[in-house]
């Protein structure tokens, strides 16, 4: 009986010791952001916005002071209940289309947004048309006639 207890006790000690050895009960770090959901939305929106003073960086990743200020504005707008479109509108009204990394779809950018797919369709149609036309220009060689086939076999035998 005593042996059971002592081995049990030993097992418990061992377990505690190994737990402490592997990972002490450390305090979980607090997120930088005050409100993670707001921050998550901020990052998502800010990734599609341009840092006005950087050499091609997004508002989400830039460390510039203006970027901090603009992120603060966006955060306030999100907390104020604005949706993504309204946030973008706020910035575009002040900084112009330049601030959007995803250009709006409007007549000015139709060529940009629809161009590639239009080009793809034209290319696909053109490709098929070309192959067909090529086929007509060069029909597959006519099948051998009987006499020609016999001659071919004869030659092969030699």
């Amino acid at each position: 009986m005593r042996r059971v207890f002592s081995s049990l006790w030993l097992a418990v000690c061992f377990a505690c010791a190994s737990l402490l050895a592997t990972q002490s009960l450390a305090k979980e770090a607090v997120p930088m952001a005050q409100e993670p959901e707001v921050e998550a939305r901020l990052v998502k929106i800010a990734e599609e916005l341009r840092c006005m003073v950087c050499q091609n960086e997004s508002l989400a990743s830039s460390h510039a002071e203006l970027a901090e200020d603009l992120r603060r504005e966006v955060r306030d707008l999100i907390k104020g209940g604005k949706n993504d479109a309204q946030v973008k509108e706020f910035l575009v009204a002040r900084y112009g289309d330049y601030v959007l990394y995803r250009p709006e779809v409007k007549p000015l950018t139709w060529a940009l947004w629809f161009g590639p797919f239009l080009l793809f369709l034209i290319a696909a149609v053109g490709l098929v048309g070309y192959l067909r036309q090529r086929r007509q220009a060069m029909p597959a060689p006519a099948a051998l006639s009987e006499a020609e086939r016999a001659r071919a076999e004869q030659l092969l035998k030699d």
Binding site: M32, E39, E57, Y98, Y101, L108, P116, L119, A123, L127
Partner: protein, 644 residues
């Protein structure tokens, strides 16, 4: 003295390049064999002279000669020696000298490894390369001289941009430039073929290994750039669709199309005009990239300091080279013969589809890159085109391309039947689909994008494996190009799965941490156990010590740093990365937040599948090397070397 020697060598090199560019070509027109024979020696001499110039600039850096303006701008006595050498190409002037050196290297390689080619062909090819060299050397000598003196000499250099003080700088630009510049060889062969009027399967066979080697270097260079950005910039991104990145991707896409098109031209004599056009396009995009990066026309973190005169020179050069090539194309291409016949569904038509999709994708990237410029030029305002656009437009275009990769390798030449292809690939298709539908459940989140990405990657991987297995069972020698092709395709599959995985499953935590605190991204946790000050050769840093646990078990330590270089006000973050087979753990120190006890902002990332990105690129590089070194290319060389 040495800088002047280097400058003089460059001037001589320009003269020799001009001779190399004009006389052999004139020799082919006038049928003057002596002039044609000047091609090889002048290429060798030009290389020697440019190498001397390059050596002079390098020695100026190693000697800390701050009386040379370029050295003073990009180096420093405290800069470690390897970076002093790499700093040679750390700025505009020096990187152009590297360009010209590598162009001369490619030219002299063509001169050496072309014994089986007729002299007239060699003369034309080397002439074209010589003319391009002349243009670049003239550009350097008139607007971008790296040997310009700074008098009185600066007592100390400004130092190399801390972002560039990294092994990445030592290897990324040379590899990338080898690729960019290497496209000039395929271009030169194409122009030579147009000039001679001889556009045939032989031309395609000669061009192909050169194109594949250049493509391999370009793949490696782009991959290195991506990898470098990933670990250097501290926020774990690896592709931003920055204009300069796009400038390297566009030639790569067209070069891929070119390699596949050359295959058809070599085998069936078809698509000659298209292949020639692709060869012209690949190098034109290299030149266009040079323009975009150095003219100040587009904003980019990557761009060199610009100068309107440089922009004008490059634009004129670009206009002349490409304009002349396309005019020659328009003149000669109509006379090209059609080549073999092919069915609507055949290996040829699938390879042609590959070309077409890649060209459309290239056009899309080009459109997105220069659209802001076009709108501004039309006085319609300023707008930005960034990653959201490119991701939305490029990815869908890749889907059909990736899909037809496998039928393309299975289909018969000349005439293929859909039922045959479906029959051969039925197991692969079903297995890939099943795995693609099930794996996301195991990986964490299920979405259409993940399924599509996984399906395409598995489709290619399994399809490739199946074909390799079928082939090894058959008798007969298997050439290196077979292994190369499938290895490269398999690498593409790995890359696609990597991209899908990392985009869908990466996790980021941005926290404030004090010593003793931890952050968890299951099943990993990262505990900050210490912060210490460290001194580097030309910087001071704070180094964080993190204990990393997996499922409660100690895994290892990670040491991210925040550095302050003496020469720069901007602090630099050196992320700590632990790479495994399936994932990267990425820890980046932010700022000190003060307070007692001291707190720091820390970013921790769990990035699954990131190592697959680099593995995929390396597999493609290995595949390219194998394919280029196939014996049939070398056999021709050896045969010609034997006494007649």
């Amino acid at each position: 003295m040495i800088p002047e020697l280097g400058h003089f060598a460059l001037i001589l090199a320009a003269v020799v390049a001009l001779i190399q560019g004009v006389l052999p070509l004139a020799g082919t027109v006038r049928e003057n064999l002596a002039w044609q024979a000047l091609a090889r020696p002048s290429a060798a001499l030009q290389f020697g002279l440019v190498a001397v110039a390059f050596a002079c600039l390098t020695s100026a850096f190693l000697a800390n000669d701050f009386s040379v303006s370029y050295v003073a701008q990009h180096s420093n006595t405290l800069l470690p020696k390897p970076y002093q050498v790499a700093a040679v190409w750390g700025g505009h002037e020096g990187s152009l000298l590297l360009w010209v050196l590598l162009l001369a290297l490619w030219s002299v390689s063509v001169a050496i490894f072309s014994r089986s080619l007729p002299l007239a062909m060699v003369a034309r090819v080397l002439s074209v390369l010589g003319l391009i060299s002349t243009g670049f050397l003239a550009f350097i000598l008139t607007t971008s001289n790296p040997f310009e003196r700074l008098l009185p000499a600066a007592p100390e250099g400004r130092d190399l941009n801390p972002l560039l003080q990294d092994p990445g700088l030592v290897i990324h630009p040379p590899m990338l430039y080898m690729g960019y510049v290497g496209m000039s060889v395929a271009f030169a062969f194409a122009i030579a073929a147009l000039l001679s009027g001889r556009l045939d399967a032989a031309w395609a066979r000669w061009s192909r290994p050169w194109t594949v080697i250049a493509w391999t270097f370009l793949t490696f260079g782009i991959g290195l750039g991506s990898w470098w950005a990933y670990y250097e910039l501290g926020w774990g991104g690896w592709w931003f669709w920055d204009p300069v990145e796009n400038a390297s991707l566009m030639p790569w896409l067209v070069a891929t199309a070119l390699i596949h098109s050359l295959m058809v031209t070599e085998k069936r004599g078809s698509f000659k005009a298209w292949t020639v056009l692709l060869a012209i396009a690949a190098f034109s995009l290299s030149l266009l990239g040079t323009f975009l990066v150095r003219s100040g026309v587009l904003t980019s973190v990557h761009a060199f300091a610009s100068d309107p005169s440089r922009g004008i020179f490059i634009l004129i050069f670009l206009a002349l080279v490409v304009g002349a090539s396309l005019t020659l194309f328009a003149w000669r291409a109509p006379q090209v013969t059609l080549g073999g016949s092919m069915g609507l569904l055949s290996r040829e038509s699938l390879l042609l589809s590959n070309s077409v999709i890649l060209v459309v994708a290239t056009a899309a990237v080009l459109l997105g890159t220069i659209y802001p410029l076009i709108i501004d030029a039309l006085n319609l305002g300023k707008l930005s085109v960034g990653p959201p656009y490119f991701n939305l437009v490029f990815a869908p275009l890749m889907v059909p391309l990736l899909f037809i990769m496998i039928p393309g390798t299975v289909a018969h030449w000349r005439e293929a039947r859909l039922s045959d292809i479906v029959h051969e690939l039925r197991f692969v298709g079903l297995l890939a689909l099943a795995l693609a539908l099930l794996l996301p459940l195991a990986l964490g989140a299920w979405s259409f994008g993940v399924v599509l990405g996984l399906f395409l990657g598995l489709w290619i991987a399994l399809g490739t494996l199946q074909q390799v297995l079928f082939r090894v069972r058959k008798p007969g020698r298997i050439g290196a190009s077979f292994w190369g092709m499938h290895l490269a395709h398999f690498g593409m599959a790995v890359l696609v799965i990597g991209i899908t995985g990392v985009k869908s499953y990466e996790v980021e935590r941005d926290v404030r941490m004090g010593i003793g605190e931890q952050v968890t991204i299951a099943p990993y946790s990262f505990k900050l156990v210490g912060l210490q000050d460290v001194k580097g050769p030309n910087y001071n840093a704070v180094r964080g010590e993190f204990d990393v646990f997996k499922d409660g078990q100690f895994l290892e330590k990670m040491y991210p740093e925040k550095r302050r270089y003496f020469s720069s006000a901007m602090p630099m973050t050196e992320a700590a990365i632990d790479s495994g087979f399936m994932r990267d753990l990425y820890v980046s120190l932010g700022e000190s937040l003060g307070g007692t006890p001291a707190q720091w902002s820390v970013r921790v990332y769990y990035k699954p599948f990131v190592p697959w990105l680099w593995a995929g690129v390396l597999l493609m590089v290995a595949g390219g090397l194998l394919a280029a070194l196939d014996r049939r290319y070398r056999r021709a060389v050896n045969k010609a070397a034997q006494p007649a």
